[in-house]
């Protein structure tokens, strides 16, 4: 066996399900589908008057990587605006080798995905949905 991808930190992030579920009355929502694999993410956010996220909920019909990414994103999203989320995305992209530099927490957990290019979009799909929700 050559099992490098599903390391404990990724599995733990997915199982934590941080922010899983829908919000009762979100300020904005967005859905993103990956037509290649069929993964689907719906993100709800509540925004404060300054445009910062005060609450986030996600519904993921997708793989463990997508679930782990949504969970990780939800764990750091509150208090951030769109620009702040872009900085978090940079961390995720660093972890999977799309950007140079060291990834911060919790996205360093996604470093094993770097070698699996076909799975990069699984990690980035929640970011795409949140970007749409904040735009």
């Amino acid at each position: 066996m050559n099992d490098q991808l599903y390391q404990d930190r990724i599995v733990s992030l997915a199982k934590a399900k941080t922010g899983a579920g829908k919000l009762a009355s979100p300020t904005k929502s967005a859905r993103r589908d990956n037509p290649l694999c069929g993964d689907r993410v719906i993100i709800d956010v509540k925004l404060d008057d300054g445009g910062k996220i005060s609450e986030i909920g996600h519904q993921v019909r997708g793989c463990l990587l997508c679930q782990a990414s949504a969970s990780a994103l939800a764990s750091v999203a509150v208090g951030r605006n769109a620009a702040g989320i872009e900085k978090v995305r940079l961390d995720a992209e660093r972890a999977i080798g799309r950007e140079e530099g060291e990834a911060g927490e919790p996205f360093s957990a996604f470093a094993p995905v770097k070698a699996h290019k076909s799975r990069h979009e699984c990690v980035l799909l929640p970011f795409e949905a949140l970007k749409d929700a904040l735009s």
């Binding site: 099992d3 991808l5 599903y6 599995v11 694999c37 069929g38 463990l64 699996h116 699984c122």
Partner: protein, 406 residues
């Protein structure tokens, strides 16, 4: 009856390689099958001794190329038990279905109806939707049963005098279920509808007798049938091909071109505009010839024995369920399954770490996934060169995924 799987495996060089210290357990044949020496040799012979364009050249290389290309057409025709002039080489199975949708479709009138099923691959749905947008035909959909078979009991009530074509998968690329072609043809005749079969998943499992089946169109892909990429086949009855206008325009498909008027070549050239995929066609001819060297009674028994081993093993794994019939009757060796609490892509990724190649996801059958409210399935698709070690490696990987990912 015994089947010498080791002798078959030896003909497929890719299967003997080691990747990251692991043998190759290739169970993604429904997506693309592997290629035997006979095909590789035929393509290499063309590329190294006869590479030239076909039909127009007078030099010796052109004559060799043309002869090899037309011989490939004969090999494919023999494999399907039809006349060579009824074989149209296309870019693939999708291209073949699109050819029919465009060309035969242009003969249809607004309000005419075409029937497909709920389990079709997108390539047997979207071309008809595009035709609907172009010409106002109507599309009807036969539902599937809970076992993943096309529900032929529901077909009669969809038939109308305006039904012109029924286009269905010969074998499902998700459930492996075999269509009852005789029943479909019998029903189609009651309203004078034509029948087209998407043979992508059936053709890789042995020769066919299309003439005896009573159908009108058949399409399949070369790369799923041990041939090269970039080649597919459309077979249609000659009187249909004669009546159909061209799909693509260009060289080779013409009779005479003037600015005032252009006439068309007779079939099959009418539908092979431009330089065709010569090498891939020659490779596919070799693949069809190679398939005819196998004893398919024993090859099929071997394949279905592996399906039984797979289904037995999956049933012993907690949380694993089959999607599709649990029987080996009226099916081909394509098996989809679900692992409770683990996404199909994670199952497939885990299997890759065991050296096992499978496909996971919606399999280009989103309407079928929607029907059963599924994200996708993990699909095992078997070829004659697969053996017990492939199935056992897969089962070990599924057990590992069940243990670690939920």
């Amino acid at each position: 009856m015994s089947f010498d799987v080791a002798a078959v495996r030896r003909q497929f060089p890719i299967l003997s390689q080691i990747i990251d210290g692991q043998p190759v357990h290739y169970l993604d044949n429904g997506a693309s099958a592997q290629t035997p020496d006979a095909v590789l040799d035929a393509v290499r012979t063309y590329e190294t001794t006869g590479r030239a364009n076909v039909l127009r050249g007078v030099h010796r290389l052109a004559e060799r190329a043309t002869e090899a290309y037309e011989n490939a057409r004969i090999e494919v025709a023999d494999f399907l038990s039809v006349a060579p002039m009824e074989i149209v080489f296309t870019g693939g199975c999708t291209a073949a279905i699109n050819l029919v949708a465009y060309s035969y479709g242009s003969l249809l009138k607004p309000g005419d109806r075409i029937i497909v099923s709920e389990l079709e691959h997108h390539s047997n749905i979207v071309p008809w939707q595009l035709l609907r947008q172009r010409s106002g035909i109507e599309l009807d959909v036969v539902p599937v049963t809970v076992n993943g078979r096309i529900d032929l009991n529901a077909l009669p009530r969809l038939l109308t005098p305006r039904t012109k074509l029924i286009s269905l998968a010969h074998v499902s690329n998700v459930t492996g279920t075999l269509l009852d072609v005789h029943a479909v043809v019998t029903l189609a005749k009651t309203v004078g509808a034509k029948v087209m079969l998407d043979g992508a998943q059936r053709a890789p499992h042995g020769p066919l007798d299309l003439a005896a089946m009573g159908i009108d169109f058949y399409a399949f892909a070369g790369h799923k049938a041990y041939g090269p990429n970039g080649i597919g086949v459309l077979w249609a009855k000659s009187e249909l091909l004669e009546a159909m206008p061209p799909f693509l325009g260009g060289g080779s498909m013409i009779g005479r071109v003037t600015f005032a008027e252009t006439t068309w070549a007779p079939p099959p050239r009418r539908f092979e505009a431009g330089t065709p995929p010569i090498g891939p066609a020659i490779g596919l001819g070799a693949a069809c010839k190679w398939m005819r060297t196998l004893d398919w009674n024993s090859a099929h028994a071997h394949e279905m024995g592996l399906v039984e081993r797979l289904m037995d093993g999956l049933q012993k794994i907690d949380g694993a369920t089959l999607f599709g019939p649990a029987s080996t009757q009226n099916r081909y060796p394509v098996v989809s399954f679900l692992l409770d609490g683990v996404h199909p892509h994670d199952v497939a990724q885990t299997l890759d770490s065991f050296g096992v190649a499978v496909r996971a996801g919606h399999h280009c059958c989103q309407p079928l996934m929607d029907r059963f409210d599924l994200d996708g399935t993990t699909r095992v698709s078997i070829a004659p060169y697969n053996d017990n070690t492939d199935i056992d490696a897969l089962l070990t990987g599924v057990q590992h995924a069940a243990r670690t990912l939920r």
